[in-house]
Symmetry: C2
Subunit: 318 residues, 2 copies
């Protein structure tokens, strides 16, 4: 019998609903925050989907949990593996632990303390390697061949996309009449998911928010040709990666626009969110706030606050 | 007929209930947050009363709103005035605006931009003066004599105390079985209110949390003699003031203990809260977190997160 839960094509409305049901016992139904002071200052009517309050501090818990549950038997037998050192590594560790599976996380030897601590906290088995993509891939391949662990890509995967789509699906369940939704874009899992959820369940314009300093999604979207990232020196560390191959066509077809934010705008958005809502978001989430402040959208505007993980120990009070 | 709403003695249970009803249409019923990750790391079962999500970003909105409503006719006729440049100034401005009254706020010329902006945002009428207590008091007295505005003390006032008590009253409505409650103490409005609310509606031990670098409440509590603050060089800027004369006897009688926190513990508590809950609290609120981490209380422990106002623009992302 064909296993229809392992998606090999663009997720349907039913696939997104199924993902939402599948992960519901594990993830948080995150609140949609409204802040009168934020609305005053940004001059609009904003609905903040608060994935910084998600398990593991980022939306990544959704896709990881969905994909592990879809591959449950395999994951339980041999474990799962990733060489993403960002939020996906912690999310995969957490998701694997929910069903008692092992998660192997390959991290560069120079990874930030906070990220190492987070993966450890959620029970991930860390292997350090040289800080190059080549070393990460070869180390992961070696662990895979030794353990048979399933490699789960952080975004270039339809089950991951269906999982991330559930954030926007929930937002639209709460506020079906949103006119715009701002969504940060790095690898494109969150944005592709948002665009699909909105296509099936909403009527909003979906706007990707990308750092000008890592503008590959904007270039790909504008040119119609998938273009890898050539530079990525942005404070929005979660958005430094290239758009995924599976993500690009979805974004190309169903996203309305991708806007570019300067580093100053992103930092300003981050400050703005802290000041008015008292919510700690990560710099990547500042792109959505920055775009909302600048674009002056009419009607009801959703913003996906993608996560809240960052090294706050660098902020000294004296 | 005697006006029984202007309190001239220690608030009763009925006074606190009346204050809660009086201010309910204006203030937020703030959430009581729980964080599995915070509980894991601090090794306890914690309930965070989130006054950083209160109107104006601090519990001060409660006392200010209560006192202005009690003096509504006077406030509408001549306005209200304060020379507190902290959260009380913004709270009084906000509360006055709710009923269409004027609020005069005397601020030192070197007050932080963020505080000036906050008072302005809520419609307070600012008069700048030399940065000395003498100049603040004489400037306030002059405006008072010109306008007839009612001076509302930030904490040494029974109606203020009854208003602040509503934070703990709400917490105990949600969780009547708390075993401990940690409460920051500066002037003692919040702590005296917490102790009274717990005396009437709870069964917890109430523990004041004070910076060792501004330890007057601890000294007064331990010696039994009201002792003004002699040094106050602490990052917990909301807690630099001396205990109020009306607040001290309440605290003396109904608070179980006052613990002292080092600057390092306060900063650590602040970091800890940001990391695990993604909530921006102000340094003063870090005392409650720090005490909870150190004291390792059994059972259910409440923590009053007193506010979330601080200058976050000093935190650069690059």
């Amino acid at each position: 019998m064909m296993d229809t839960t392992v998606l090999t094509t663009i997720p349907s409305a039913a696939d997104i609903k199924a993902a939402a049901e599948r992960i519901a016992p594990y993830v948080n139904r995150t609140p949609v925050l409204q802040s009168p002071r934020f609305n005053d200052l940004a001059e609009g009517d904003f609905y903040l989907k608060s994935e910084h309050l998600q398990k593991t501090g980022a939306f990544k818990a959704r896709g990881a949990m969905n994909t592990i549950l879809v591959h449950k038997d395999e994951a339980l037998e041999n474990g799962v593996i990733t060489h993403s050192s960002g939020n996906h590594g912690a999310a995969l560790s957490w998701a694997a632990a929910q069903i008692g599976a092992k998660a192997y996380v390959v991290m560069p030897s120079n990874a930030p303390e906070a990220k190492i601590a987070s993966v450890k906290h959620y029970g991930g088995i860390i292997t350090f390697c040289e800080p190059t993509l080549e070393a990460r891939e070869s180390t992961a391949a070696q662990i895979q061949s030794e353990t048979g662990a399933l490699l789960i890509h952080p975004y270039d995967n339809y089950n991951i996309i269906a999982g991330q789509a559930t954030a926007t699906y929930e937002l639209l369940q709460d506020h079906p009449d949103l006119d715009h939704i701002f969504v940060p874009v790095g690898g494109g899992g969150l944005l592709a998911g948002a665009a699909l959820a909105n296509k099936y369940f909403g009527k909003a314009k979906v706007i990707g928010c990308e750092p000008a300093a890592a503008s590959d999604a904007h270039e790909s979207f504008t040119s119609g040709n998938w273009t890898p990232v050539s530079k990525s020196d942005t404070i929005a560390d979660g958005l430094r990666t290239s758009l995924g191959r599976k993500n690009f066509p979805i974004i190309q077809k169903y996203v309305d626009d991708i806007v570019l934010l300067t580093e100053q705008e992103i930092e300003n958005g981050w400050h703005y969110c802290l000041e008015t809502t008292k919510q700690l978001i990560e710099p990547s989430a500042g792109t959505g706030i920055a775009a909302a402040i600048r674009e002056k959208t009419d009607g009801k505007t959703g913003i996906i606050l993608c996560g809240g993980n960052m090294d706050v120990r660098k902020f000294a009070l004296r």
